[in-house]
Each structure stands twice: as structure tokens, then as C-alpha cells.
């Protein structure tokens, strides 16, 4: 009698797991449709706002971009919250002897959730792509402005000419060669942006190196996943031939992974060095500060 009631209870739980899983997948499907619709609608609007933002610093565009990204994140978060809730519910409810039921439920739901996250990440990349500005043009405008104004200033005290000897991007004291009065030179709003433009331009110029590094990084993670999967599969393997074959593949993958991992800091350092060389060339005044930043980034990422 006792066993019978227990069996009925287990049947109930199994039924509940299947129903919850089906409902969760329907829920994920609906969220994915909503996410796609929303992102597809937002993309042309963001492109349009990027071109026609009345604000000089495109703050309107960045605000909208953040809010659209926030909406996409909240859709995924909604799915994750439900997943966590259901996972915790069944974790305490399913007993040890039926644990595989819980693990299957958890893994399948997690796979579905990851699919949603992949879709979200795809659209986030698309959204990132709408933030396009040709920084070469902005930098050229700064250079042209400097050429046109560098000989235009006279000492306010004695009217002797004062040469603007380099591009100043912050308010600066310039001394008059004739009367030694300190004149205060304030650069234009456009030139004040030099430091920020310099970084964005350097990043734009070295984007291909970053891409190369990212691809290598992705390759390392793919090889590691393959290796890990094979290692896990060895745990339940009894056939000797299969074990030998898998071990051989694991060894090959380990060697490949090590080679790829070894390349990573070299590629990153090459990217970072080129980036900072460009940035230094654009704004040499800040070279010392740039170099400190360079060292910190390198240390943070690779402990070099």
C-alpha cells in the first residue's frame, strides 16, 4: 500500500516535470518571438537616430541604445528567473533515485535558455553595429581647425602674436614672448574631444587585430569544450579500444589547446601595443598616462 502511494506520487511528479518543461519551452518560444520583433523594430530606429541625433555628443542615441539593450536583457532575465524558480522547486521535490529526471529537466531547460541568450547576443551585436561614426573624419576636422587657427592669436596684453605650437585639448596657459604675460588659451569644443576621439579612432584602426585575438580566443574555447566533453564521456566508458582512441584525441586536443592558448597573450599584446601607438600619435601630450593605462590593461588580462 505504501509503495503504491509512493509510485502514484512519483508518477505525479514525472507528469509535473514534463508539463512544466513543455510550458517552459512554449514560454521561451514566445519570449524569443517578442525579443526578435522588438529588436528588429529597434534597429532601423537606432540607425536613424545615430544619423540624425540633434545632440552634439549623440546622447539621445546612446540613451536609446542602452534602453533597447536593457529591454533585451530583461526578456532573458524573465526566462532565467522562471528557470531558477522551477529548478529550485524540483531540486527539493525529486528524490535521489529519480535524480536523472531532475538533471534532464535542468539540462534541457538550460539549453533552451542558452538558445534565447544566443539570440539576445546576436541582436546586441547588431545594435552595437548601429553605433557607427567615422572618427577619421572627426580627427581630420580637428587637424584642419588647428591649421587654420594656430597663427590667429595675439597677446591680449600687448598684441604680439602668440603661436599655438601644438594641439591643446585642455585650457592652457601660453606665455607671450614679448611681455611674458600668461594668456589663457581655451580650445574649441571640437578640439576638447581629442582625447576621446583619439581612443575611438585608435580602436577603429586596430579593430582587425582585436578581431584576430577574439577569433583565437573563441578557437581556444571550442577546443577546450571538445576536450572536456571527451574527458567526461570517458567516465562511463568500458570498451578499452574506445578509451585508447578517445585518450589519443584528448592528447591531441590538449596540445592544440596549449598552442592556441600560448598565442593569445601575444595577439592581445600586439593589438594593445598598436592601439596605444596610434593613440599616442594622435594625442602625444597624454603619452605617459596612456602608457600607465596600457600596463594596467595588460596586467589585468594576462598578468604579464
Amino acid at each position: 500500500m505504501f509503495n503504491l502511494s509512493k509510485n502514484v506520487e512519483i508518477e505525479k511528479v514525472i507528469d509535473e516535470v514534463h508539463t512544466t518543461k513543455d510550458r517552459f519551452f512554449v514560454f521561451l518560444q514566445k519570449l524569443e518571438i517578442r525579443l526578435k520583433e522588438f529588436a528588429e523594430e529597434a534597429l532601423p530606429e537606432l540607425t536613424d537616430l545615430n544619423k540624425n541625433d540633434p545632440d552634439g555628443n549623440k546622447l539621445g542615441f546612446y540613451r536609446m541604445k542602452s534602453s533597447v539593450e536593457g529591454q533585451l536583457d530583461s526578456i532573458v532575465q524573465k526566462a532565467r528567473d522562471v528557470f531558477e524558480e522551477k529548478k529550485n522547486y524540483f531540486e527539493g521535490k525529486i528524490e535521489h533515485e529519480h535524480r536523472s529526471l531532475y538533471y534532464d529537466f535542468r539540462n534541457q531547460c538550460l539549453d533552451g535558455l542558452q538558445k534565447l541568450e544566443i539570440t539576445r547576443n546576436y541582436y546586441k551585436n547588431q545594435i552595437e553595429g548601429t553605433d557607427s561614426q567615422d572618427y577619421e573624419m572627426v580627427y581630420q576636422a580637428i587637424l584642419e581647425e588647428y591649421d587654420s587657427i594656430k597663427n590667429n592669436f595675439n597677446c591680449v596684453q600687448c598684441s604680439s602674436p602668440i603661436l599655438i605650437d601644438k594641439i591643446y585639448f585642455t585650457t592652457t596657459y601660453l606665455s607671450c614672448a614679448a611681455c611674458f604675460t600668461q594668456n589663457t588659451f581655451e580650445p574649441s569644443s571640437q578640439t576638447k574631444q581629442l582625447e576621446h576621439v583619439g581612443r575611438s579612432l585608435a580602436e577603429q584602426r586596430t579593430a582587425h587585430l582585436l578581431q584576430e585575438y577574439k577569433e583565437q580566443s573563441k578557437l581556444a574555447s571550442v577546443i577546450f569544450s571538445k576536450k572536456h566533453e571527451l574527458e567526461m564521456s570517458l567516465a562511463g566508458e568500458n570498451l578499452k579500444d574506445v578509451i585508447v582512441q578517445k585518450t589519443k584525441i584528448i592528447q591531441e586536443l590538449t596540445a592544440q589547446n596549449e598552442a592556441v592558448e600560448k598565442e593569445l597573450p601575444i595577439l592581445y599584446e600586439r593589438y594593445l601595443r598598436t592601439l596605444f601607438d596610434h593613440w599616442n600619435a594622435i594625442n602625444p601630450t597624454m603619452k605617459n598616462e596612456h602608457e600607465k593605462f596600457y600596463t594596467r590593461l595588460l596586467k589585468e588580462n594576462y598578468y604579464i
Binding site: A42, E45, S67, Q71, I149, Q157, Q182
Partner: protein, 82 residues
């Protein structure tokens, strides 16, 4: 025509409207051209000469700046008046 005006805005339209109309901290960006100015001593009318430092008037000891300058991008601690 009035019917069309009453159509509620979509979520995207609302986000866009809010993003564009939200006031920026510090106000809107005002484009300024490069300029050169001097600050003469309000006490005796003398200009500030580099050799004498930037913080105190060399003629009447008027205090232009009440801080001790430290090394910055273009201003250095040597620019303090003695």
C-alpha cells in the same frame, strides 16, 4: 485625423521620445570656438607674468589662486609663485 493622433505610441517610439527629450546633466552641449584671454590683477591691473608664477600677483601680492599647483597636463608645480 484626430483618430490618428490618439493612437498610443509603441514601446520603441516611447523609448525614442524619452531618449531624445531627456535633459542632459550639465545642460545641452554648446559649441565654442577657440579663444585667448588674460586675467589681469583686479587689485593693481598688472598682467600675470610666467616667470613670477601664476598664483600670486608679482606687484601687489594679490592671490589669484588659493591652491598650491601640482603637476598636471600643462601646468606644473614650478608655476607656483614664490
Amino acid at each position: 485625423m484626430e483618430e490618428a493622433d490618439k493612437t498610443p505610441l509603441s514601446l520603441i517610439d516611447r523609448l525614442k521620445l524619452k531618449a531624445v527629450t531627456q535633459k542632459s546633466y550639465g545642460g545641452a552641449l554648446v559649441e565654442q570656438e577657440a579663444k585667448l584671454t588674460v586675467r589681469n590683477c583686479p587689485n593693481c591691473g598688472a598682467g600675470r607674468a610666467k616667470d613670477e608664477g601664476l598664483t600670486i600677483c608679482a606687484y601687489c601680492d594679490f592671490e589669484f589662486l588659493s591652491v598650491r599647483l601640482t603637476d598636471g597636463i600643462t601646468i606644473k608645480k614650478e608655476n607656483n609663485s614664490n
